[in-house]
Symmetry: C2
Subunit: 335 residues, 2 copies
DNA sequence: TTGAAAGCGCTAACAA
DNA sequence: TTGTTAGCGCTTTCAA
């Protein structure tokens, strides 16, 4: 591991001061002789010199790093949001420092602090907390954008899916098809804004009807396809044919888990039970019958979040608002 | 955005020198009076001081950052490898700077250079290149581990799936079931080590038989489910019933794309054609019939890569070798 | 057209 | 038990 070339080496070899080299590096050519410029250029290429970003960052107070805090990077929905962010950042000076909270609020706190320690220029976060007051460290010290989830009171912009609207659309379908009982299958709803809004959208449409809405609450799932047993135990009491029933899975892992369960138990969809849900993996049309599902647009969420963050970093006034990105309701044969 | 607290502020307020503060920060308490220690502790907590990592890194020449370069972060297989790495790193001092090459070798080069500019302490790379000579910048300047793919000559350790072995197992299945023609569906094989080894494993077993092996080469796919048209055009000539034929998809996106095609075209599996492949999403048993598939263990690849990288960083002698992580052949009903 | 010098926030050798 | 000082690699003000 040979010694790293520094700005001093270049200065010495070219016979100019490091100030001049620095100017060169920062494209400040006004009043620099063409000859000097060429000589510097030659030596830099010769030695394959690349400026040390840490030193630059320390002095300039610009790290060129953006922190991303996600709940679980192995979730395909999440990794596509991240892709969107990175895609938008690829032609800027910014890199992404990605932290995975692995569904733990404690880790999330640590992650936020670590990012601040690294002097990131901005943070994109998919928050696990219950309230924005849980994020004292963030405060208004650094530009922040929330994705997928948001915490209130809303002190940073948020880019999320149109959960309320699509859930209402789904409710209309339930009505059309004369379902009498809807079973929502979801991890704990209380503190996760998308789930809250999905439930609200559903209930908003079904209030004043005699459709029964039940909840089956699972643990937070980490698997791409949720494990069976836990869910089935709670669910089976509702699959009895006494009322026309549809299951509504609040995320892809659960939806796929349910498909698997029903396949194993030989329960026919939609004859014995209807099945719909969020389709994080875009696989809902591979099975037979195709599953009516809501497909979000995580890449677009990433795009918009990155744009908003860059605006903030560049000091533009940007509104602290909730931006909803359209999802798509794919009607198939499972209702 | 109030001014950041620095080590100097803490020194002033406690009335000791910043050396002492530095010692405190680095847990060097030998010969520090309990009183001083407590006072420092109090002031740090009071001001909520957190050391600037950039400054620390600059001085200590340890960035505590590990770079990860992946081909496409939105691929579920990839994001699970990343998860494995992060999981292993979570109780260390290291953070992950993740770069997405988006299937472009040009971007990959830039990514590597950017990581070096950031003075990362090590790099995990899923290489896109054709040869390790394509990575001059890396050389032996920094600890490197390859994942999923590897480039030769092997100058850095690599952790990959047991592609050859599982492909051979699949070939044995083809033999057992008397298939006469195998169609490999894959993006370009020539420079991607996993694909090369899968093909080799297959051919190794089928040599000296009269089984015909054909290739349908697609463009590199970026979608979780590959698009239909392109593949079908090439494929349809082989689905004619003149020879018992099986399709072997070399990655999950293609496998899912094929399932979709056959569903749309009403082609029966396994009656009209057999279908097997790599299952990056773990969805192959959701469809009917269940698809015989190879499921890799990307998280484990991540674990082992992280371990090997940490070893190198800590200066332990580690062998430059190829490590194969077991995948699982799930035999279902599609052959 | 170029350079000297100070300093970003921290660490560590050496001194006291 | 603690402090002085130099310096990591760069940027930038001010001067020449």
């Amino acid at each position: 591991m040979r010694k790293k070339v520094t700005i001093n080496d270049i200065a010495q070899l070219t016979g100019v001061s490091k100030t001049t080299i620095s100017r060169f590096l920062n494209d400040k050519y006004e009043g620099m002789s063409g000859e000097t410029r060429q000589r510097i250029d030659a030596v830099i290429k010769e030695l394959n010199y690349r400026p040390n970003r840490q030193a630059r960052a320390l002095k300039s107070q610009i790290s060129s790093m953006i922190g991303i805090v996600v709940v679980d990077i192995s979730n395909p929905y999440t990794s596509r949001m991240v892709k969107g962010i990175m895609d938008r950042l690829k032609n800027t000076q910014y890199h992404t420092l990605i932290m995975d909270s692995d569904l733990s609020q404690e880790r999330e706190q640590k992650n936020v602090n670590k990012l601040l320690d690294e002097q990131v220029d901005g943070i994109v976060i998919q928050p696990l907390g219950k309230s924005s007051t849980d994020y004292q460290a963030l405060g208004t010290n650094v530009p922040v954008v929330q994705i997928d989830r948001y915490v209130e009171p809303l002190i940073w912009p948020a880019v999320v899916s149109d959960n309320f609207v699509q859930s209402r659309n789904l409710a209309k379908l339930f009505l059309e098809k004369d379902y009498q009982r809807i079973i929502v299958v979801s991890p704990p709803i209380k503190y996760a804004s998308p789930r809250i809004n999905r439930l609200k959208g559903l209930l908003n449409e079904l209030v004043n009807t005699d459709i029964e809405v039940k909840q089956v609450i699972t643990t937070e799932i980490k698997d791409v396809v949720a494990r069976n047993e836990e869910i089935w135990e709670q669910l089976k009491v509702y699959i009895k044919g006494d009322a026309k029933t549809a299951i509504y899975a609040f995320n892809g892992g659960l939806l796929y888990g349910l498909i698997k369960i029903f396949k194993e138990k030989n329960i026919l969809i939609p004859e014995q039970v209807g099945l719909v849900g969020y389709d994080d993996g875009a696989f809902a049309d591979l099975v037979s019958p195709g599953i009516t599902s809501i497909e979000q647009n995580p890449v677009e969420i990433g795009y918009q979040a990155a744009d908003k963050l860059l605006e903030q970093i560049e000091g533009k006034e940007s509104l602290i608002e909730l931006t909803c990105v359209d999802s798509k309701l794919n009607i198939r044969q499972s209702l």
